[in-house]
Symmetry: D2
Subunit: 346 residues, 4 copies
C-alpha cells in the first residue's frame, strides 16, 4: 500500500466509559432525558446504547469517586487495520495492551494518548439485534426511537483536554490515520485540534487545558442530527434542573450545532444538532483559526462559552463543578489563571 496507507483505518468512535460519583443519577440522565436504552448491568457498571448505535453499547457508566472518562474505543475498518494500527503504535514506542473483557466487544488494544487519556482500538463488535417489539420499520435503524425524553441517535465524538494539544494530535495523525480538519492557534501554540478518519468534521478533538492540567475529558458528544432537538433539549434541561453550560448555538469550527450540559456526575455532555461540515473533498486542507477570528469559530450566534467552565473545567477535576466555577469566576481570558494540580488520567 502507498499514499494513504493508514487513511481509512479507523471507522468511528464506537464506545466510551464515563466515571460517575452519582451513577444512578448519571444513568437517569441518559435514559430519562436522552432516551438511551440500558442493555446490560455488570458490577458497578451499566451499559447503554442510543437507538441508532449499531453495537451492544456505546456508553458505559461506572461508579467511581470522581467523574471522568474511563476509556474511549475506536473501531477500525477491518481486523487487518487493527493489526496495522497495533504495529504502528508499537513502532512509535507507545505502550499497548491487548485484552478482551468488555461486554459485546472482542479483542481490544488499549493505550494512552500523549497526555494520558485512556484510549483503545477494537474490531470485534457484536451487533445489537432488537427484540421484536423494538424493531423499527426503518431498516437502517437498529431499534425503534424510544418514546422517552428527547432521544439521541448515537454516540458522536470525543473532546479531550490536554496540556499539549500538538502531542495528542500527532498521535492520532501518525498512528491512527486521522486528518486534522481544523485547528486553533494562539501565536505559536496549538490550543485546539479537530480530527477525523472519515468525512465528519471530527471523531476526536483536543483542546488545551488552560489550568495546566492533563489527561482530562472535555466532553463526550451524542448526535441528534437536527437543530430543533437541541432547542427542545435545552428547554427540557432547564425545566428538569440539568445544568446548561452553553447553547444551543453553532460553532464556526466544524459548523457543528452544540448544546453543552453537565450530567449529574459532573461530566460535560454535548448534544450535537444538525450535522456540521462534511469533508467530501479527500485532500481538503486543514483550516487554521487565529485568535483574531475566534469569535466566529466559537459561536456563530450569541452564545457565551464561559471562561470559568468551558476553557478550564474538565473531568476528573480536583474541584467540584460549583467550586470550580467559584474559583474561576473572576479570571477571564488573558488574565493569569489559577494553576491547578495537574490531574492525570484516572
Amino acid at each position: 500500500m502507498s499514499e494513504n496507507s493508514d487513511r481509512f483505518e479507523v471507522a468511528h468512535l464506537a464506545r466510551c466509559e464515563l466515571f460517575s460519583p452519582k451513577p444512578q443519577e448519571t444513568e437517569d440522565f441518559f435514559t430519562r432525558f436522552l432516551g438511551m436504552y440500558v442493555t446490560q448491568r455488570e458490577g458497578q457498571s451499566v451499559f447503554l446504547r442510543a437507538y441508532e448505535d449499531p453495537y451492544q453499547w456505546s456508553l458505559k457508566i461506572t461508579e467511581a469517586p470522581q467523574a471522568g472518562m474511563g476509556h474511549a474505543a475506536l473501531r477500525t475498518t477491518s481486523p487487518e487495520a487493527l493489526e496495522r494500527r497495533a504495529a504502528s503504535l508499537k513502532d512509535g514506542n507507545v505502550d499497548t495492551r491487548w485484552h478482551e473483557d468488555e461486554f459485546g466487544f472482542g479483542k481490544t488494544l488499549s493505550f494512552q494518548s500523549a497526555d494520558g487519556h485512556n484510549l483503545a482500538l477494537v474490531w470485534e463488535a457484536e451487533k445489537y439485534v432488537a427484540p421484536p417489539e423494538l424493531r423499527s420499520k426503518i431498516l437502517t435503524r437498529p431499534s425503534k426511537k424510544p418514546l422517552q425524553g428527547i432521544p439521541v441517535k448515537r454516540i458522536d465524538h470525543l473532546n479531550l483536554m490536554a496540556s499539549d494539544v500538538t502531542a495528542v494530535k500527532n498521535g492520532f495523525e501518525r498512528h491512527l490515520g486521522f486528518r486534522t480538519t481544523e485547528r486553533v492557534v494562539d501565536g505559536d501554540v496549538e490550543i485546539g485540534a479537530w480530527m477525523s478518519s472519515n468525512i465528519l468534521g471530527h471523531e476526536v478533538a483536543c483542546m488545551r487545558d488552560m489550568t495546566g492540567g492533563a489527561g482530562k475529558l472535555h466532553h463526550l458528544a451524542f448526535y441528534y442530527g437536527n437543530g430543533q432537538h437541541n432547542v427542545d433539549a435545552a428547554e427540557m434541561f432547564r425545566d428538569y434542573d440539568i445544568q446548561i453550560e452553553a447553547g444551543p448555538d453553532r460553532h464556526g469550527i466544524t459548523q457543528g450545532q452544540f448544546l453543552y450540559v453537565f450530567e449529574p456526575g459532573g461530566n460535560r455532555i454535548e448534544l450535537f444538532g444538525e450535522a456540521g461540515y462534511l469533508h467530501m473533498d479527500p485532500d481538503c486542507p486543514t483550516q487554521t483559526w487565529q485568535m483574531s477570528d475566534i469569535d466566529t469559530g466559537l459561536a456563530i450566534g450569541g452564545a457565551n462559552l464561559p471562561w470559568e467552565t468551558y476553557f478550564t473545567y474538565g473531568t476528573p477535576s480536583p474541584l467540584s463543578l460549583d467550586q470550580h466555577i467559584e474559583r474561576f469566576a473572576h479570571f477571564g481570558p488573558g488574565a493569569e489563571v489559577p494553576t491547578m494540580e495537574p490531574v492525570g488520567a484516572v
Copy 2:
C-alpha cells in the same frame, strides 16, 4: 358597554418609523438581509413592508442625526374604537393630536407615553395590493415571499426603554385596553412589562432603562414564526458583518425565540422565531418574574444578554454603540452604573 369595554380595541402594531444616521445602510439591511420590499420614497424617508404585512408599509426609515424611533402606530379594531381611545386619552389628560400625513394611512391620533415615546393610533389603513408578478398563490399572503436574504414575514412588536416602566404600562392598560401578560420585578420596582391587546404574548413591552435615561427604543421586532430562520439569520448576519447582540435562543418571558442585532444605523432589531406563548385563556393572570428566577426568564438556553448593551443601550443614545460598550463593559448588574444624561424622545 361593560366588563371588557376597552379590551379588544387595539388590533396590532401596524407601523414604526426608525431614525437612522446611515439611512442607505439601514435600508440595505432591511431589503438585502431581511427581504423587505420598498413601497415608497418621500423626502428623507423610505417606506418598506414585509411580505405578509397587510398595509402599504410597516417600516419607515427616516434620515436623522441620531438613531431612534420616530413613532410607532397601533391600529384599532374599528373606527369607533379609535374615537373611544381618543376620548380615554383625553379623559386621562394625555396630550393628543390628530393629523393625516402618512403615506397609506388616514387620520392618526398622536400622543406620548408617560416616558415620552411618540405613539399613535390609527384606523384608516390602505391595504397593499400586489402587482400581478408579486401575487402569491397563497391567498392570505399579500405578496410573494421574496427570494432575497432571509425574509421576515411582518412587523411584530415594540420594546420601549423607560425610566418608569409602571407609568408606561399603566398608560397602555388604562387607555388602550392592553393586558399585562408578564412582568419582572426587582424588589418593589417593576423593571419589565409585556403587554398585549390580543392573544399574542406582547405587542408592546417596556423595560427599565438602567442608565436613568427616558423615552428610548429598546428594540423593534420582526416576525419569522420559525426558529430555523433565526438560526439562518444569525449565520447570515455573522458572515455579512451585521453585529449580533444575542441569540438565537428563547426567552422564558413570552417564550419567544429571539435574535438581537444592531442595524447599521444603531437601532436594535429583534428577529422573532417561533411564536411564543399564545394567551388563549381570556382571564389568564399576569405572570410575575422575580429576580431569583430571571435566568430562565431571560434565556432558556445559554444565551448571554450582555449587560453593557442589552440592559443599558437604547436609541437615541448619547454615545455611539461602540462608545457605549466601552463605557459599560466594566459594570455588571448590581454595580452602580454610570448615569447618562437622560435622552428624551426625539
Copy 3:
C-alpha cells in the same frame, strides 16, 4: 355597543369530547404518543390536558359504540359575553340548554349546529394548578412539558363535516361572532369555511361531507407550534403502527402545517405544526379559493389528501375506516360517489 358588538365574544376552543369504541387504546394514543396528562376519571370517561392547556381538561374520551365527537365547547371572553351569546341563539330560534355537569367547568350552554353537531359555550372554567413536581420554570406554562412521546402543547381547533357548509358557517358568524377567514367554493356551492373569533386562522372549520352525511367530526387538532415536531410525530406514528392519512405538509388554506392520523378509536386527529397565518388586520377580507387553485390550498408540498378518506370519511361513520377505504377507493373527485346513509350527531 355597536360595530363589532359580537366580534370578540368567544375566546377559544376550550375542550372537546371524543367517543371511542376502544377507549383504552384511544387514551394510550393521547398519553403515550402525544404526552397528554390524565387529570380525572369518571364513569366511562377519562379527562386529559396537554401541558399548556389552561384548564382541568381539554379532551374527554368517552367509551361509546362508535367513534365521533361527543361535544365541543368554546369559552367566551367574559360572563356577559356568554349571556349575550345565549340571547343571540335564542333570538335565532336555536334550541339551547343550560347545564352544569362537566368536571372543571361551570354553567354551560349547549346547542347544535345547523348540521347537528353538539356544541357548547362556557365561561366558568377552573384553572389547572400543577403540583410542585410538575410546575414549570416557564411561568406561562401551566405544567412541565412531559418526557413522554412528542407532547402536544394544547388543543387547537375543530373541523366539522357538514351536509351544508354555509348553514353551519352562518351560525358561527351570526351568533358567535366568528369571522370567516377563508372559504372554498365549487361553482356556487361553499364546500369549506374556516372561521375564527381571534387572530388565528381558525378555531372552527367546516367542510362538505361528500358522501351526503351530516353532523360528523372531520378532525380535532392539537398544537405543536413547530414543524419539526410534525416530522418527528410522523416517524413515531409510522413506527408505532398509528395510521397516517397525510402529511407532514402545509395547507395553503390557513398556511397551517398538518399531519393527519387516525387514533385507534377511528377519529381523525390533526397535529398542527408551525402556526399558520395570523390575522392581525382587523378588517382582513375573507379569502375565497376556487377549485382551479385548490392544489395550493390543499397542500403546498406534495402531500396527497386521499379522496377515499380525507373528503369522505368522518366520525361517526357507518363503516369502519378499513371498510370505508375499500368502498371509496375507486371513486375520485368528479365521479359520482356512493351515497351513505346520513349519520346524524350521536
Copy 4:
C-alpha cells in the same frame, strides 16, 4: 493490499453535467431559486457551484435538444486510486477513455455503466478560491452563503434509472469499491439499490425503469442538510411555478428527507434535507426492502411518489413531461405499463 483494497477509493460525486433544451431557464432555476454561483461560461455550457462545493464547479448545464445527464464524475481519494480503478475497469472489459477537457478538472477517465450512463473518474480538481468579497468567516466554507433564493450547500448524489439495476450495481461494487447500503427487491428482481463508498447512505443509487427504458437519469440531488429548508423550498417552488413532484417528506430508504421538483428543462432534481442515516459501522449489512414493507421505505409521512412520474419518468425522455404524465396517468403499479422505446444514453 488485502481485505478492503478498493473500499475507500472513491471520495464522492464531484460534478454532473445536465442537458437542457431550455438552458437559460435551467440556469435561472439553479441560480435564482437554489442560490448557485456561476463560475464559467464556455460555448453552450455554463458551470455552477453551490456555496460549499469545494471545486470550480459541481454542475454544468449544456444546451441540448433533450433533457438528460451529460455525464457524472466521481473523484477518487488519491491519484493512485484513480489508476487502480482504471485497471479494474480494464480488467472487467469496460471501455474507458482518458481525456482532459473540462474546466477546473484534470485527467479524466470516462466509461459507461452497464446500462449506458456516462460516468467518469477524476483525481485532479482545482479548488475554488473565493474572491475577497465572497470569503466566509466560517473557514470550512469555500464561499459565503448567497443571499439569493434558498441556497443549496453542495451537490449530493445521483440516482440512475436502469433496465437492469443489478448490472449497474455490480459495476459500482466491483470496480469502484462501493458498498450497497440498501436495496429493494420485487420477488427475485432487484428494483432499487443505494450505494456508497463513504459513510453516507448513498452517493449513487439506481432504480428500475418501469417503462423498459435504459440509461436515463432519475434525479440529481443537492444538499441542504436541514429539513426546514426543504419546507421553505417547497413553498418557493409552489409560488414561483416550479413543478413539485413530491415532498417534503422522508424516505425510509436512506432516511433522507426529500423534495422532488422538475427543473424547467425537464430533469428531476432532489433537494436533500436533513442528512439521512450515516453508516458509521464499517461492516454494516445491506438492508433489503421487500415490496410488503415498501410504504415505509418510500415515504415515512404521507407523501405520494406518483406512479406516472416517479417510477416511470427519467431523462432523456421520448415524451415531454406533460405528455408522459398524460400517457401514464391511468396505469398504476401492478398494471401492465406502456412500454416505451428504450432511450439510450445521449
